[in-house]
Amino acid sequence: MDSALIPKGVKRCPTWQFALWIGAAGAVLLWGVVAMLLCWFKGLNQTNMNDSYGFALWIWADLAVIALGGGAFFTGFLRYIVGKDELKNIINYAVLIGFICYSSALLILAIDIGQPLRGWFIFWHANVHSMLTEVAFCLTCYFGVLTIEYVPLILENRQIDKVPFFHRLGHNLHEVMAVFAATGAFLSFFHQGSLGGVPGVLFGRPFAYREGIFIWPWTFFLYTWSAAACGPCFTILITWITEKITKKKLVKQNVIELLAKISGWMIGTYIIAKIIDTWYWAKVTAPSAGFNLMDFYSNNPFYGIWILILEIVICGVVPAVILISEKGRKNPVALMTGIVLAVLGACVNRWVMVLQVMAVPVLSFESWAMYYPSWQEVATTILPVAYGVILISFSYRYLPIFPQEQELNPEA
């Protein structure tokens, strides 16, 4: 029925099957939309946030999704600036995933602020000393760049490409794509970093506060690094899931392994820097405010020392070792284990720096604040996942995302 829209030379499932799939995802999306509307019309009392817990589940999701969307900028950087041409076979998907991640982040932010209609104040009344201002500007600009990188893919749809103007536009965009990718990498460096700066500058919260260089706390650089390291892993993970659902190989294994290898080295170097930073913070920075390391990990039911071990050892050192070693990359189980652990590592890191920060008491006569999300928070956090599934489904069905798909799946 919609075969005219499907790229040439590839097979897609029947339209009714596709419609059912979209319907199912759409139902989840609708649930998220209802929760979103509840938050907008009734206020943030719909969540379980309180004055001790001003940042909650969806802010963690926001940060995690931006970190994982880092695959887009880093793959683009590797392909266009460093010149790893093989990555052209996965860059389209990385861009699409990045687009979904960043649009989700912007949506979550629109829901999270208390007065969404005043959201533009962050641009109009910007305080340049605040990390969050930097985040807002760079995020928005970079989302623009991602849109520019996604548009040529849309223009390559069989029917749209027939229109001469769109065809030429797509061609021109491809011509200068390196410039956009470079700008995207520049912007990403800063907003991924500022997101790290958000907890790092809080000198009133010894758990979060880090020293740094000039105006940038060390978490600034650690966040950019971890986004560059774990973002490509997320791209690989989504590619793997897509291949499992569509039951076909979409990207050649050597491309995956190249990205995994680079990722592994990035994670390895990152985790060394992270360990040094954590050690210095535990030995010097926090004690100067009167806190021992274990003060941050005791007397509460949830945040034990296990979370530090999980983040740094299990989800940091282990995936680095797996992905750096060629044997690890060639073994499918080891590879996917490493990938999943790396993705988890970025998520745990963002959780710790946002939610554990809010839980840790600072005044000596305060106690730990515990928190669990409300259903509205869960629904609005799953909303971007449903949206991502739908957008990927449409893009996969109608756009030539994977240049190697035809080669890997010759017509029977």
């Binding site: 206020g43 943030l44 009392n45 946030m49 309180n50 004055d51 001790s52 817990y53 001003g54 940042f55 999270d112 602020i113 208390g114 007065q115 969404p116 005043r118 959201g119 104040f121 962050i122 009344h125 910007a126 305080n127 000393h129 605040s130 990390m131 969050l132 201002t133 807002a136 958000v198 907890p199 500058v201 809080l202 000198f203 009133g204 919260r205 010894p206 004690p287 100067s288 405010a289 009167g290 806190f291 021992n292 003060d295 920060v357 809010m358 600072v362 005044l363 000596s364 006569f365 305060e366 604040a369």
Partner: protein, 245 residues
């Protein structure tokens, strides 16, 4: 502001006065305090010992109006607000909150170690007729924005206006006092200009038993506490187990 913790009885009159003075909204069911708004909150501290050595202390905590590192006005909250909705005044030392500018990102709440900032999770609902006796000098806030103690800044404005009409530039000590200071039946709270030698707080802050909360974080708060009890002074900050004060 200087608060004598050895005089505070924990009666809460200061909290009530503050809420009445500043049109602080309240929920129908106030039993869950985590999302209640209390610009001034009285904490109950204990020395953790069992009978007969148990001791308790009540500690009223308004916004500390931090001067930040080096006392240059880089309060933890002012530095992080993305919309410049909170600002430090070099004249008064007060950290202001601009309700019409705030869009409720709550970054300032994350930054404040004293939990002095509160978010309007709901729109205010005043019981029937109460809108008529809200204080006309303090704007009412809507949901989705952050608010906090302002050291009754409207009273400062009123006092300055009066002084201006009378051709003066300076205020007498008793012309500008916060609602909590005036409400305390034990006179535990003293309010004034910390840098004016003629004000009581100028001398009080130099008391050998005076301390500020979380001094080690270098927030440079304006609120000094006095207590003759060592454990109370020690509770004002965090120390490693073997550290002496």
């Amino acid at each position: 502001m200087v608060i004598d913790l050895d005089k505070c009885t924990g009666c809460g009159a200061c909290m009530v006065a503050c809420m009445a003075e500043n049109n602080v909204p309240f929920k129908e069911d106030e039993s869950k305090k985590l999302d209640s708004i209390t610009w001034l909150r009285v904490y109950r501290l204990t020395n953790g010992k069992s009978f007969p050595d148990t001791d308790i202390c009540y500690l009223p905590r308004p916004c500390q109006h931090c001067g930040g590192k080096g006392d240059h006005g880089h309060s933890p909250c002012v530095s992080v607000c993305p919309a410049t909705a909170t600002d430090y005044s070099n004249d008064t030392g007060i950290v202001s909150q601009i309700y019409t500018r705030c869009f409720g990102c709550r970054y300032c709440m994350a930054a404040c170690p004293y939990h002095a900032r509160y978010f309007n999770w709901w729109d205010p609902v005043w019981p029937d007729g109460m809108e008529k006796y809200l204080s006309p000098n303090v704007s009412v806030r809507m949901r989705g924005i952050v608010e906090k103690c302002s050291f009754c800044f409207h009273r400062y404005q009123i006092a300055m206006e009066k002084a201006h009409y009378e051709g003066r530039g300076e205020l007498e000590e008793n012309e500008y006092q916060t609602a909590c200071t005036q409400a305390c039946p034990a006179n535990a709270i003293t309010f004034g200009d910390l840098s004016n030698p003629e004000h009581a707080v100028y001398e009080l802050k130099k008391n050998k038993n005076a301390f500020r909360l979380l001094e080690r974080l270098q927030t440079n708060p304006k609120v000094y506490y006095i207590s003759g009890r060592e454990w109370v002074r020690r509770a004002g900050d965090n120390y490693l187990k073997d550290e002496k004060k």
